[in-house]
């Protein structure tokens, strides 16, 4: 993999980054609510209004305001939160690690478990084990994330169930307290992703098992373990990687949004949730813009990984 190839892949991401940032600019800055009067006292004078509008950049032409927003994203100088007055970049820097610590175990476990179940179902395709796993995953897909969270909370965190874990909160200072607070959200995340993951991985593996080269290996005495874990798995790495890379930004943001607002965990999701409910524009536009950019980066990395994984993807 040459440096120019990496550079070219990154170049392909630019139109996407521009699109993502443009949409968030359009929705939240340009069409967003006019904040002039929120910042003014009663009965403002025309001069005061003009001053505030100037400070907010409302008098600038459209493209200049967009360029300004881009500059904010690039320099990570994202302004101050409307509600707390703290700088947005320091809020994000403080909360992002918490969100990652919160969703990472569930994300990893959900994918590993889905992969294993998918492998098993694909290997025993058409047999009772396959049918059992696939029926269970349809049931899993039919339970709403919210119902899972509330249900697990009742079962594990209240006197009506086992009452083993805290109802809400995040006072993490060592491994024990981490496990204490992270278990229920992790279970919820695993539960909600497992059905979808299992179905996806089974479909991928079942396709691979049908390939001619797998039949060749069977004809040469390869064991099921060798077939599945060496050949089927390596051949399906591209769709697997793609799914994982694609879902990272979504699980981190969407998963933490729901989990954190429900369990009161001070991560990026809770910050976003509060920004949604209070209309905190600087926070919202930073989160939307940055995740879009992150996603495009993930896509690019994904493309680069392809050529590492599969010799057929041309290496220029």
């Amino acid at each position: 993999m040459t440096r120019s190839y990496v550079a070219r892949r990154l170049l392909y991401g630019i139109p996407l980054v521009l699109g993502v940032t443009f949409i968030s600019f359009l929705l939240m800055v340009y069409f967003g609510p006019d904040k002039t009067y929120e910042l003014l006292g009663k009965n403002p004078t025309a001069d005061q209004i003009r001053e505030v509008r100037q400070a907010l950049g409302y008098d600038q032409p459209f493209m200049l305001r967009y360029a300004d927003y881009l500059k904010q994203l690039v320099t990570l100088d994202l302004g101050l939160s409307d509600s707390s007055g703290e700088s947005v970049s320091s809020i994000l820097g403080r909360t992002l690690p918490i969100s990652i610590a919160l969703v990472l175990p569930g994300f990893v476990l959900g994918n590993i478990a889905g992969l294993m179940l998918g492998l098993m179902a694909a290997w025993y395709r058409g047999k009772w084990l396959d049918k059992l796993i696939m029926s269970a995953s349809v049931v899993g897909m039919s339970v709403s994330f919210l119902v899972i969270i509330i249900g697990l909370q009742i079962l594990l965190c209240t006197p009506y169930g086992l009452n083993l874990f805290p109802v809400r909160g995040w006072q993490v200072h060592d491994l024990g307290s981490y496990l204490y607070f992270v278990t229920v959200p992790t279970l919820a995340l695993v539960f909600v992703t497992l059905g979808y993951n299992t179905r996806f991985y089974r479909a991928v593996m079942a396709d691979e098992i049908d390939r001619d080269h797998i039949r060749t290996l069977r004809a040469y005495g390869a064991s099921p373990f060798e077939l599945m874990f060496k050949h089927v798995l390596k051949n399906s790495l591209i769709p697997i990687l793609t799914r994982i890379m694609f879902s990272i930004p979504f699980v981190v943001i969407s998963g933490s949004l729901l989990l954190e607002s429900y369990f009161g965990i001070p991560g990026i999701g809770l910050v976003t949730f509060n920004a949604i409910t209070s209309g905190d524009q600087p926070v919202l536009k930073a989160v939307v813009g940055l995740t879009g950019v992150l996603f495009v980066l993930a896509l690019t990395v994904n493309d680069l990984l392809y050529s590492l994984v599969d010799p057929r993807v041309a290496k220029p």
Binding site: L16, G19, S144, L146, V167, F250, I253, L284, V288
Partner: protein, 279 residues
């Protein structure tokens, strides 16, 4: 083609089970719309948090409203959201997907692919939040957010299918005799993707109902009226105090409907997948 699909669907008992569940819920929704059911959803008909009884099947909520009535009304809400989102996003996806596939590798295709790429790059709930923010609490913000993001998958599938159909002889013949592109697309190409649209619509319906629940919980969803998502949001406070009425009612209705739809979508997919049948 559709006849075959129906025959195959009929022989799949899981699919038929799913269809019946969906039909039953649709019936409830129609009854609510025509004023026969669930009309007492907002009136205070008892004390707060009454437990289940003959007059209140699932008890009452914080305000003393009947949870069962609210659940029935929530069915109509779910169908309303599901139908509007599914219809609009499927039409949008079919049109843009067909154009994109027909003019594949042209500038129009590039533009549509770019828009799809951009929309797919923004995490959905954030996008919904941004739209809600831009529309300042407009009732339709949730619908718009879903329609604007859900069409992309449909368009991607239709694009691939149209590229395949374009190479068939009768399409080449139609082009050779000089029929205008749009006429060919609408008369000869899109009708051949109907079965794919049907499957995709059933999947979008599930996603729309599921998403409404989450958005309503986040305060970005249903503004007036009641939905299962709002009931679950309500229940999140109540369950700690041991009041499970909202949770059980909304949770189980939601689960049964989603399960029915998932089974139906699965067996629809099997039924129209002619490639598998030929093999």
């Amino acid at each position: 083609m559709m006849n075959d699909t129906w025959q195959r669907l009929k022989s799949d008992r899981y699919g038929m089970g799913g269809l019946m569940v969906v039909a039953a819920f649709a019936f409830i929704a129609i009854c609510v719309w025509s004023g026969l059911l669930g009309q007492g959803w907002s009136e205070v008909s008892g004390n707060r948090w009454e437990s289940a009884s003959a007059s209140h099947w699932f008890g009452t909520n914080l305000l003393g409203q009947d949870i069962f009535q609210r659940t029935l009304f929530g069915t109509a809400t779910a169908f309303e959201v599901g139908l509007i989102v599914t219809l609009c996003s499927t039409i949008l996806g079919a049109l843009l997907g067909a154009l994109s596939g027909w003019y594949s590798n042209g500038w129009l295709d590039e533009v549509i692919l770019w828009i799809k790429g951009v929309l797919d790059s923004i995490p959905f709930y954030l996008f919904a939040a941004a739209i809600a923010y831009a529309l300042q609490g407009n009732t339709w913000a949730m619908h718009v957010a879903m329609i604007v993001t859900f069409w992309t998958t449909t368009a991607r599938i239709i694009r691939g299918e149209v590229i395949r159909i374009k190479q068939r002889e009768y399409i080449e013949a139609a082009q050779a005799i000089g029929l205008p592109d749009l006429l060919i697309i609408f008369r000869h190409v899109l009708p051949n993707t109907f079965h794919i649209l049907l499957v995709q619509a059933s999947i979008v319906f599930v996603a729309a109902i599921n998403t409404e629940v989450i958005l309503s919980f986040l305060g970005l969803g249903i503004q007036d009226g009641v939905s299962w998502g709002l009931m679950l949001a309500e229940s999140s406070q109540e369950v700690l105090a041991g009041h499970f009425g909202n949770f059980i009612a909304a949770g189980s209705f939601l689960f049964i409907l989603l399960m029915g739809f998932n089974l139906l979508a699965d067996s629809l997919q099997d039924a129209v997948d002619t490639r598998r049948v030929i093999q």
